[in-house]
């Protein structure tokens, strides 16, 4: 008997009137867990009943504790007829199962009914007494912590990052069971909600077991999704990254997580698992006899990697992109061998690592410093499948096999890029009728093995070697062999360190690494695309989709590349490409944050070439277009403050050669004198990014490039955690969800019209957001997450969730000072703790200006006498730094006029890209938040809260709701219905967090928002799935005054009255 669950029903308020005669309600409550039910007394004639019940005690297995939700039903007692249900509350008691999280759940929960929405509130107290259970065959995994956050949570330190965990559970969808024909919509919805709750509990428990098997104690970057496969069932699947986390003991000594894990690693010895593969499904299940597997989709899915600029260069060759990803060519095999051997040479640890974990994937998008060594580029794979009924829910092999196949492909793509791991990994599906597109994507990377297992001596040695590379550019260096590149790319020497090769553009799915050196600000870049498709059935449909996919992916890629160049930037972070399938069309939407990485070469412009050069007016038109494009690029450079420093001649003129042995083994074999010429070649090609306008389609494309309007002044947007180039956040945040559905007017649509509609939809949506949030200027929309779905034939639905964060333009200077101070302090501690940290680097980076010396800053600097000195100091430092690496600059001296980007150490270093670092929060002059009333619960898709420190993680929030109406018009039409529902979902999330004693949800995500309407029948239904991490945060300002005063466990909204703190 490993656990006792205790529940007390205290009171209700604002109950609906259930008895028309008396305008009152006779309410009582049923408390159900598993198969046990308790009831309270009936509280007669009141809308605010005070039950004050006894403690209802459930004695249960911890397996059940993990799987089952606590189900509380409020009913109206009726003497003569059946009792009427008022509504329900489902409480996930998982947070009570781990020791450090919440100890009690207590508070007001909205009473929710799937037909009527929220109907009053109920006050409940829940506790769990856990008994120790030493049974080694146990099925439960109590104690494993789950985090949605895709980085190491703020008050923890990663001891070991074990790797990928995944699991999948299937069941029949209650909506499609025969019984659904005779039961009420309410009963059907509730059955569905309950089933999904059960399934996600089970899934979490199973993942937990795998983590325990791997000797981990937590799952970070936990992402759980539902596939509503209709007739063929309901799939709940989850992926995550298993870790061993250590709680940072004292909150006062708040260090950036994982600053120096090397010391602690030895304390927890990691014994290699003798049976390593138990955690993941075997990839060897033969597929053909179970399901259709369309080969075109397989061979087509390729790494759309950073550097395959050839795609855009020679669009006519088109499918050249496909060849880049095709496996099995002799070229590729050779490469793989080389990579493999190289890995083995490197102390053998990555190799061992590869063998041990079947899929070296990480769902993390931000990493402890030093974890990420090199980034290869984006790898993605898609596969079109036909759904068939899942016959035996206990053996979900088919789905498992599908995913195993995709993951295998991702893995081999990563290998082709010379990488042994994939980071920023995610999976998604798009389902329409019986066709399903499975997608997976991530960023191929080389990781530092020190975090993956306990540090052996050689590992440490090797790592020391690695870290001699200058921070801020190391991850840009190519991991693959430049002589045997997996695809044609233009390599240059790194503009930062001049030692290693870098590609000319870099695409990744991860957040900007904390130590990356960025010039200017970033911006949201989107590629949008629609393709019509004939309506077809089953196999024919799947084939049609498979045939369209490569073209879509290619065009999305081209669009991204063009838009990136148009912005004058050279790297994409947080890239997410979503392909959605509908009855008669396919939609592609790619979002990413463009930045200018100092280490990468300046992007060349875009040149337009006409096909018919004889026609005079045509040429004029072309040159007009060209001018427009050039103007746009110039304007964008100004807008995003992309002003890379010029390298002056004298600096270049004094070379100090670097010892070669510092470069890694992988590359050393291939370095030869040939490089220089190759380098020159690539320089020559750099400006030759040519768009050929050979037909109206291309014309349209160029036009659409220019139609994207930049956000109004004072606004920035990105889809990563934080905006590169902004770090003086103030504490005001506003998370929001916006949904739009448009109906396409004509039936005989063309691709162009469709594209325009879709483009307008997204642009208008963004414009609306900017307008709505104009009171927050200057502000940045962070983590902008677009989701497209095609609910019906002519309907396109776009859902956006993001957070607007204000920042202070004028405060930049003050914070600068603080930053410098802080980083000085940090540096000294760093030097003590991390001896392997190269001393020169520290001294180099510290005094320099943490901001790109953009115009605005310079201007403001002139008003402040203290700052120009600091900047001068920075430039002095820079030159001395440049001296040291100009040995490499010498090599490219021939092309001196093209080298405009120096390696200006505008050292943004740790604090710049990590607002979670303490430096940023020491923002003493930040205005206190106006609405920090008791009971306010903040929600944000980010992993941090600006101006505050997360002191405790209370557990994962994972909620699924269904809302249905049969009186759509009366509820304000579709907009009124969905508006109310989303507001209710927010309310229920907040209530649960408050009941756990928290005051915020971080890493919040709305994973699903499935909306269906039938206006003729006056009906609509919507399913929403949200998740996030419940946390307790303390404002920095409060922290300094009273460090002991923590938000009370019971933030009851009832006391919101007039209590305004700060």
């Amino acid at each position: 008997m490993p656990g006792k669950l205790k529940v007390k029903i205290v009171a209700g308020r604002h109950l609906p009137v259930m008895d028309r005669a008396s305008d009152l309600t006779d309410a009582f409550v049923e408390v159900k867990f598993g198969n046990t039910t308790f009831k309270t007394d009936v509280y007669l004639k009141s809308l605010n009943p005070q039950w004050n019940s006894e403690w209802f005690k459930f004695e249960v297995d911890d397996e059940d504790l993990q799987d089952e939700p606590l189900q509380i039903t409020v009913l109206d007692h009726d003497t003569y007829s059946a009792n009427d249900a008022i509504g329900k509350v489902y409480i996930d008691i998982d947070p009570l199962l781990y020791s450090e999280a919440a100890t009690v759940i207590s508070g007001w929960f909205p009473i929710y009914d799937t037909i009527h929405g929220i109907r009053g509130e109920i006050n409940v107290v829940v506790k769990v007494d856990l008994f120790n259970d030493l049974n080694r065959f146990r099925q439960s995994s109590c104690g494993v912590k789950f985090f949605c956050t895709t980085s190491i949570p703020k008050c923890y330190r990663a001891v070991i990052i074990h790797g990928f965990v995944e699991e999948l559970v299937v069941n029949e969808d209650p909506e499609y069971q025969w019984i659904d024909r005779i039961r009420t919509p309410r009963a059907s919805n509730e059955a569905r909600q309950r089933l999904i709750s059960l399934m996600s509990g089970e899934l979490q428990r199973k993942i937990g077991l795998k983590v325990l098997e791997m000797r981990g104690n937590a799952v970070v970057g936990y992402l759980q999704c539902f596939d509503l496969e209709g007739e063929s069932g309901l799939v709940v699947r989850a992926i995550g990254t298993a870790c061993t986390l250590d709680k940072l003991s004292s909150p006062a000594a708040f260090l950036p997580a994982c600053n120096s894990p090397s010391k602690e690693m030895k304390e927890i010895p990691f014994n290699e698992d003798p049976n390593p593969n138990t955690h993941s499904s075997g990839p060897s299940t033969p597929l053909k006899n179970q399901t259709y597997s369309f080969s075109p989709s397989k061979s087509y899915s390729r790494q759309s990697s950073s550097s395959d600029t050839d795609l855009s260069l020679t669009p006519k060759t088109g499918m050249g992109s496909g060849s880049a990803g095709k496996e099995g060519g002799p070229f590729k095999a050779l490469l793989r061998q080389q990579t493999q051997s190289a890995l083995e040479q490197r102390g053998g640890s990555p190799h061992r690592f590869c063998r041990r974990r079947e899929f070296p994937f990480f769902t993390l998008t931000a990493f402890p410093p030093g974890f990420l060594v090199h980034v290869g580029g984006v790898v993605s794979a898609r596969s079109v499948k036909l759904l068939d009924r899942i016959h035996n829910p206990d053996e979900p092999e088919t789905r498992d096999a599908w995913w195993a196949e995709i993951r295998q492909e991702i893995k081999s793509h990563a290998k082709a890029l010379g990488c042994h791991a994939v980071v920023g990994y995610s999976e998604s599906t798009s389902i329409c009728e019986e066709v399903c597109i499975l997608s997976a994507s991530g960023t191929a990377a080389v990781l530092n093995p020190r975090f993956l297992q306990d540090g052996t001596v050689e590992g440490c040695l090797e790592q020391r070697l690695e870290e001699n590379l200058p921070a801020g550019c190391g991850f840009c260096h190519i991991p693959y062999d430049e002589l045997n590149m997996p695809f044609p790319a233009h390599l240059t020497y790194c503009y930062n360190c001049r030692k290693q090769k870098v590609p000319d553009v870099l695409f990744t799915t991860i957040d900007l690494p904390t130590d990356a050196t960025v010039i200017g600000k970033g911006c949201l870049i989107q590629a949008r695309l629609c393709r019509l498709k004939k309506k077809a059935q089953a196999e024919a449909n799947a084939t049609a989709i498979s045939n369209l996919l490569p073209f879509m992916e290619y065009e999305v890629h081209t669009q991204l590349m063009n838009k990136l160049k148009l912005k004058g930037m050279n790297a994409l972070f947080g890239l997410r490409i979503q392909i959605t399938v509908g009855e008669n069309m396919l939609m592609g939407l790619a979002s990413a944050t463009g930045v200018y990485l100092a280490a990468l070469p300046t992007p060349g412009g875009i040149q337009i070439a006409g096909k018919t050069p004889n026609d005079g007016s045509y040429e004029q038109h072309i040159s007009h277009m060209q001018k427009k494009i050039n103007d746009t690029i110039a304007k964008n450079k100004e807008l995003y403050e992309i002003t890379p420093p010029e390298i002056s001649e004298e600096i270049i003129g004094s070379p100090i050669p670097e010892p070669r042995q510092r470069s890694r083994l992988l590359r050393s074999q291939s370095e030869s004198s040939d490089e220089v010429t190759e380098l020159d070649l690539s320089h020559g090609k750099k400006d030759a990014f040519v768009l050929e306008i050979d037909d109206t389609d291309a014309m349209e494309d160029v036009h659409s490039l220019l139609t994207d309007v930049p956000p109004p002044s004072g606004f920035y947007s990105c889809n990563t955690e934080i905006m590169p180039g902004i770090n003086n956040w103030t504490s005001e945040i506003q998370m929001f969800t916006s949904v739009r559905v448009i109906r396409l007017s004509s039936l005989n649509l063309t691709n162009q019209a469709l594209n325009k509609n879709f483009n307008d939809l997204c642009e208008n949506l963004l414009k609306s957001l900017y307008f709505k949030l104009r009171s927050m200027i200057p502000c940045c929309l962070c983590h902008v997450n677009f989701t497209v779905s095609l609910p019906e034939d002519e309907l396109i639905q776009v859902t956006v969730t993001a957070v607007a964060i204000t920042f202070d333009k004028n405060q930049a200077l003050q914070t600068t000072k603080i930053h410098v101070e802080k980083s000085l302090q940090r540096a000294s501690t760093d030097n003590e703790e991390l001896l392997q940290f190269p001393l020169e680097l520290c001294s180099d980076s510290l005094p320099s200006h943490p901001f790109p010396p953009a115009k605005e800053h310079l201007e403001s600097a002139s008003s402040n006498s203290g700052i120009p000195a600091a900047q001068r100091a920075a430039s002095v430092d820079y030159s001395s730094f440049a001296d040291r690496c100009s040995g490499w600059i010498e090599l490219i001296k021939l092309k001196a006029q093209t080298i405009r980007r120096g390696s200006m150490k505008t050292t943004v270093t740790v604090e710049k890209a990590s607002p979670m670092g303490e430096g940023n929060f020491r923002n003493r002059s930040a205005p206190p938040c106006a609405n920090s009333t008791v009971g306010v619960v903040k929600m944000t898709p980010l992993s941090f809260i600006p101006g505050a420190k997360i002191t405790k993680y209370l557990g994962i929030i994972n909620m699924f709701f269904i809302r249905e109406t049969t009186s759509l018009r009366e509820e304000g039409g579709v907009s009124g219905f969905l508006h109310a529902f989303i507001a209710e979902v927010f309310a229920m999330v907040r209530a649960h967090v408050a009941a756990l004693g928290g005051n915020a949800v971080v890493s919040y995500i709305m994973k699903q928002c499935v909306f269906m309407e039938n206006p003729n029948k006056n009906q609509a239904q919507c399913l929403i799935n949200v998740s996030g991490d419940a946390v307790v945060f303390v404002r920095e300002s409060e922290l300094e005054v009273v460090s002991t005063q923590q938000p009370t466990a019971n933030c009851q909204p009832s006391c919101t009255g007039g209590e305004v703190t700060t």
């Binding site: 208008n764 907009s975 989303i982 507001a983 009832s1054 009255g1057």
Partner: protein, 357 residues
């Protein structure tokens, strides 16, 4: 391409004050959009009309959802659906319960019934306030009335507690409720020159001194109903004008005291008996409900108008009223000093307020 659905939901509910005002003023979405366009917002923000339309729709929808809660403001504070900072909640409530001077003058003192509600059309046409806004204001009056009637304790406190209004607005509502309950006539042509503020001022004085609550704070309706016993007793004051000796004595006392101090002394002396009769007769008539309703008409007819026709300056009116009330204490034959003070104390304040052009 038509927009089927278009929503924006923030974790903190966005409230646009300008749109809220347009909504409260009863404008339709399209009218509101037109008004916003005219305000120059498009030029300021670079937005398009479509953006404005979508934004306005969104706010209107939010307000519509909030309206149910605004009907019982404490619910707005305790509800969990909309996360709104307290300062914004207060703003929402205050603005929702705010009313137009022009409107309140039309319905002040009228029974808050369905009959009056039917007249809102006319009021709307007359005042230029949209019918929708008239309805909201009328319903607010009625709602507050229904909640606080038959309630114990101070009227203002009750209103404040149940509707979370500012002190100033709660006082105004107390006046509206008090007038509605006692059905004071305020619509006559003679009274048109009076503002709502004038009436509210009088109402407050009357609530303080003339209601049940003035003597006993533990009765229902204490601030709503006038103290019947007191009104009955007022008959006793009649002696001041009925007894000729007393009247003469009163006059001579006042005239002696004011001689040389009053610019309009001769007019006062000539009119004293008329004025005194007017004021005392008003008191004596208050036993009848109908006469209670006409209180303000009577005061204006019997006191304000005569003085005004003789061009009394306000300072002289004040001096006169002071002396007129105080002199009664020196009348040996008059035994109802306390009653007189309770009556005249309030009337004194009211008359001064009512005395203007």
């Amino acid at each position: 391409m038509t927009s089927e659905l278009d929503i924006f939901v923030g974790n903190t509910t966005l409230i646009d004050e300008d749109v809220y005002r347009l909504w409260l003023d009863g404008y339709s979405v399209s009218d509101a959009v037109a008004l916003r366009v005219r305000s120059g917002i498009l030029e300021q923000t670079g937005a398009t009309a479509a953006v404005l339309q979508s934004d306005t729709m969104d706010h209107y929808r939010t307000f519509h959802m909030l309206e149910r809660l605004l009907h019982a403001p404490p619910k707005l504070l305790h509800q969990l659906i909309f996360q709104i900072p307290p300062s914004r909640q207060a703003l929402l409530i205050e603005r929702y319960y705010a009313f137009d001077e022009a409107f309140v003058r039309e319905v002040l003192g009228k029974k808050l019934s369905k009959g009056t509600k039917k007249d809102l059309d006319d009021i709307s046409t007359k005042t230029g306030i949209t019918l929708k806004s008239c309805r909201r204001q009328f319903d607010n009056f009625k709602r507050v009335f229904k909640v606080v009637e038959e309630m114990r304790g101070s009227l203002v406190d009750n209103i404040q507690q149940h509707f979370l209004l500012s002190d100033r607005l709660a006082r105004d509502y107390a006046a509206i409720v008090f007038f509605a309950n006692n059905r004071f006539e305020t619509g006559k042509k003679k009274l048109q020159y009076l503002s709502f503020g004038d009436f509210a001022f009088c109402a407050e004085l009357m609530i303080q001194n003339w209601t049940l609550g003035a003597v006993d704070s533990q009765v229902d309706d204490m601030d709503m109903d006038l103290d019947k016993e007191f009104l009955q007793d007022l008959k006793e004051l009649k002696v001041l004008v009925a007894d000729k000796d007393l009247l003469d004595l009163h006059k001579s006392l006042v005239c002696t005291a004011l001689r040389g101090k009053l610019g309009v002394f001769s007019e006062m002396e000539a009119n004293f008996k008329n004025l005194s009769r007017g004021l005392v007769n008003v008191a004596a008539k208050l036993t009848h409900n109908k006469d209670v309703r006409d209180l303000f008409v009577d005061l204006v007819e019997k006191f304000v108008e005569p003085c005004r026709s003789d061009h009394w300056p306000l300072s002289d009116v004040r001096l006169f009223l002071n002396q007129y009330s105080a002199s009664v204490h020196s009348l040996d034959g008059f035994r109802h000093q306390a009653l007189w003070d309770r009556y005249m104390g309030t009337l004194h304040g009211c008359l001064l307020r009512l005395y203007h052009d």
